[in-house]
Point group: C2
């Protein structure tokens, strides 16, 4: 294990940020031009805008539109560095992390590695289910759906055809709700044009939620309205229902089986593991931090976003694992680094809920703001505006806006191309994401 090649020494203190998601990105951007050396590592060379994954899956947006090259943020800024390497272990006693390409020493370590899909120990779901926690996975869903539709079109068994057309989404949070809505809109607007002689009454879009309502993190009215919107689009919403098993062909619920070739699993997240830190630092996989976002008992290691667990007075069971929390934590930590640099006292973190929103379909969204809740067309416009503004990069913003305008005018998500990845046998497939582990 050697020191990472091409990595300049830090003249001042080095802050090593692990992960370029909402939290890590915010810390890095806010510390531009300060005296620290900022070094970010991530296993991908791009930031992923998770709230729009479902539009990639539903053929509405290109992966590149919601992915921002992390190198560009660091381009030309002295003392800001990015390396595409994977964290393997934190050697906190030595202020060092091991990566797959060599070790890196740090003065401060910011852990912002986020969360991945939680299968709750169900091995068959992990094996046959399809998650959506990365832009690659979203693109895979798109390809899988199109391949199924094409297969169904020339398939001469009605039973098999239904299995190919049905889509089961599990999880009534924002991801599952938005995904189910988007697929239902495909069924309504674009698929009948693409496959004119196919009978789409054979196709069912089913949303399975364990609890008694949708969008549990939002208001009651948002939950009820989103249910109404989904039903108006033809989604079969099954509340108080749980998936028991899946073999790639039939989804087993408690009281019935649904034939389906694809099970989209959006039922929960689990923090990515951080090898090297003692087990007692974690609570349910999340790193316990104090109000300064320091990992308990470790003065120079911080955890942010989905990975962090902090029992704030208003949030005695920790914060929701959403983008807003990650962004606000990143803001606070960046400000604290600036205070520390000026030998001032850092301030404690406190989360301000700015509200939340979800879009179910064309002109159908639900918005909860602190002082007002609204749904429908205005909510949809609000959702569009907020997400457009939140996207990183002027070019991405412009291209997404044009894509949305185009789709709106044409009633058509236009990227239904089944572009298959190339498989090369002599390679050990290092260009693939292995989902089987």
């Amino acid at each position: 294990m050697s020191y990472l090649k091409n990595l300049p020494e830090a003249e001042n203190k080095r802050i090593l940020i692990v992960g370029g998601g909402f939290a890590g990105l915010r810390v890095a951007r806010k510390l531009k031009g300060t005296g620290y050396q900022i070094l970010m590592i991530d296993k991908n060379n791009y930031h992923q805008f998770q709230p729009l994954f479902y539009q990639v899956a539903a053929s509405g947006l290109e992966p590149s539109a919601i992915s921002f090259p992390l190198r560009r943020i660091f381009k030309g800024v002295p003392n800001m560095l990015f390396r595409m390497v994977e964290l393997e272990k934190v050697e906190y006693e030595n202020n060092r992390v091991l990566t797959n390409k060599g070790y890196i020493d740090y003065d401060y370590l910011v852990l912002a590695t986020g969360a991945d899909t939680n299968y709750f120990g169900m091995e068959n779901i992990k094996k046959y289910g399809t998650p959506m926690k990365s832009v690659s996975e979203a693109l895979y869903i798109r390809n899988r759906l199109i391949a199924n539709f094409e297969e169904a079109y020339t398939c001469d068994s009605q039973e098999k055809r239904r299995q190919l057309l049905n889509v089961v989404v599990v999880g009534g949070g924002p991801t599952g709700t938005e995904l189910a809505g988007a697929i239902a809109e495909m069924k309504r607007y674009s698929l009948p044009k693409d496959y004119p002689t196919m009978d789409f009454s054979d196709m069912r879009v089913i949303l399975v939620e364990m609890g008694g309502r949708l969008l549990n993190g939002m208001s009651d009215v948002a939950g009820e309205k989103s249910l109404k919107f989904l039903e108006s689009l033809g989604v079969e919403v099954m509340l108080n229902a749980a998936v028991k098993d899946y073999d790639g062909e039939n989804v087993k619920l408690e009281d019935q089986e649904i034939p389906s070739n694809i099970l989209l699993w959006a039922a929960g997240v689990a923090p990515n593991p951080v090898p090297g830190l003692p087990e007692e630092k974690f609570f349910r996989g999340r790193l316990k931090v104090n109000e300064f976002l320091e990992v308990e008992g470790m003065k120079n290691i911080f955890a942010l976003g989905d990975l962090a667990y902090f029992e704030e007075e208003k949030f005695p069971k920790g914060h929701p694992q959403v983008a807003q929390v990650a962004i606000q934590m990143g803001d606070r930590l960046a400000k604290n680094f600036k205070l520390i640099d000026k030998k001032k006292e850092p301030k404690g973190f406190s989360y301000t809920d700015l509200g939340s929103m979800a879009t179910i379909g064309r002109k159908l969204a639900v918005v909860d703001l602190p002082f007002i809740k609204f749904q429908g067309f205005i909510a949809w416009l609000t959702w569009l505006f907020v997400h457009l503004m939140a996207i990183v990069g002027v070019k991405n913003r412009l291209f997404i806006f044009m894509n949305w305008a185009w789709s709106y005018l044409n009633f058509d998500a236009s990227l239904r191309l089944l572009i298959r990845p190339r498989k090369v046998q002599h390679e050990e497939e290092e260009l693939m994401i292995d989902d089987s582990k």
Copy 2:
């Protein structure tokens, strides 16, 4: 083997077009609204705009920008049908083709299956080399290049780093020339910004051509100028040089070895095979056709484009395998079908060379028109305009224009995202293109 599901009977004569490339697409579009039933089959559900593959490879354009969904052409037009199935065999005695999803009967068969990469029997090149005859392969090149650069950045052996940075392109035709130029521009403009502490004097971009000149199908002055342009961009052009072998790490020429992790093979094409037709109908893999583009001795089977071999008086060795020939053949055949429909005599095909062009880099292109040849900035603008107009689809045209404008202003091809495909073990990888056969 059963009749293809969901396929309506033909009320009039059915024209079955195999392949949605330049030739097949042209026939289909020109026969819109005629009395024939037009049925197109293709293994992909999109048309690929081959002239811009190299820009996908060099991170300049998204795959979707140069891929046009074939279903959209057929959308809402009665008597026009598309099916994503693969041709397996022509049973010409029965006026029937077999596909991987069932058989299809035809009245007229139009074979426009194009050409794939020709490795000239070199097994190692086929195994370790990288072709660029599809949008998937172009995207693979992009990912491979970015992965190599990332790897080189953190690699601590100079020898290994050089191997990762070097790029060898084989074939001095338009594809190889344009690809080498685009990669040299990445080296000059965008890579030093992305990898600020890497020494790019270690990186070589090499173009190997067997003959004594570049762009053999074009004028002498175009060949000489393109050589000059490439050298001005820092490409090492090796003329009269042939690749003997490649093991994935070292490219073996007659008199030297070049360490390189990637060998881009653009040295030749071979027609895709058409199983079922007698061997004597072929000349070097191409189907011999008469002036009406009928396969010799078969009144209702036609071959077009790269697949067709026709010894016209002006072209006694057959036509060049380029887009213009395919398009003009498609035009002629569509017109002939209209004539046949009106019980008139079809007319013979004759190729009109409208000229050709290639772009080497920013403001550097060569253009041969029948009455004038020019190079440089005006040629580059001409190239941009012609290719923009040739792209299928208003949206694609708009998005490509914006991408080009953006890149021009920023000196930056902006899509350097290494988005890895997702690998799923339980599937038989039917979403992959298997390149190992």
